[in-house]
Symmetry: C2
DNA sequence: ACAACGTACAACCGTCTGGTTGTATGTTGG
DNA sequence: CCAACATACAACCAGACGGTTGTACGTTGT
């Protein structure tokens, strides 16, 4: 279970860890592109671009749809969001650390007050539909 | 300019594309850990863990602080957020595509209505403070 | 003082990655 | 039908990656 999740996270982050692939994602999120149309945009062989598309497809970031002899690729925004949710998990861990520090200074209300950790308004949206969040208790 | 941004994005995604490094991030976001304390958690050599920490540090995801003979590592949540902001940029591209489609169906108000693209409530928070803080590099 | 600890770094090794070229297969238009 | 196009895939290569071991150096506690 967690094992497969880690595999998927590996694939997702690795797929995005290449500027050509990120650029491909920008294009296919904006609209459908055939593989050769994508390949025409880059200074490398068709096969190289094809491999990049395959990496993105294996990671689930991109879907291909056959149309005649062309293969039209388009980006899957849900997969992009799933990556973001992984980052939000990380941030939640950090939030727990801050909550613990707050508890400490609540019990020791003395001395040097340069804690500066109060939130900074991050990426976690406080909207009611944030079911991803396991809010650490205060 | 954009060149350096892409370099940084490469480093960030690559740093997160390894389960050991993601696990290290979970720990150092929760609190400070010496390198050897981290190394004790994994079934690999000290040097291997040290390299993972170095990768995270080079990507700016982690900061080391000397304390005597120990090197205490702690995670930088701002860097994690900067990765999330990269994903939000991607999602914005997709949002543009949807807006374009909406325009089309507005001008052609006929038949087949299985568009189903209406939002799904994603990760972009519509809060007024969505500046998301892209961290300036080291 | 010195042994034990914490860290850094170099060298090495098998594997994966990002690129190439070449070849094969399916699709389309004239 | 057949030439041109779009795709797929295998083989190959240099370099990066993740791991190892070994060595060196500063810090600490007794």
């Amino acid at each position: 279970m967690t094992e497969a999740d880690e595999d998927r996270a590996d694939a997702l982050f690795h797929a995005l860890a290449d500027r050509t692939r990120r650029d491909i994602m920008r294009r296919v999120l904006a609209g459908e592109y055939s593989v050769s149309a994508l390949a025409a945009s880059y200074d490398m062989s068709f096969a190289a671009v094809q491999k990049h598309v395959a990496v993105l497809e294996r990671a689930g970031l991109l879907i291909k749809r056959r149309s005649g002899r062309e293969q039209l690729a388009s980006g899957d925004v849900a997969a992009v969001r799933s990556v973001a949710s992984l980052l939000i998990e990380l941030e939640q861990v950090w939030r727990g650390r801050i909550a613990r520090i707050d508890e400490l200074i609540a019990f020791e209300p003395e001395e040097r007050g340069n804690h500066q950790h109060r939130d900074q308004e991050g990426l976690t949206c406080p909207s009611p539909t944030s079911s991803v969040t396991s809010t650490p208790g205060h």
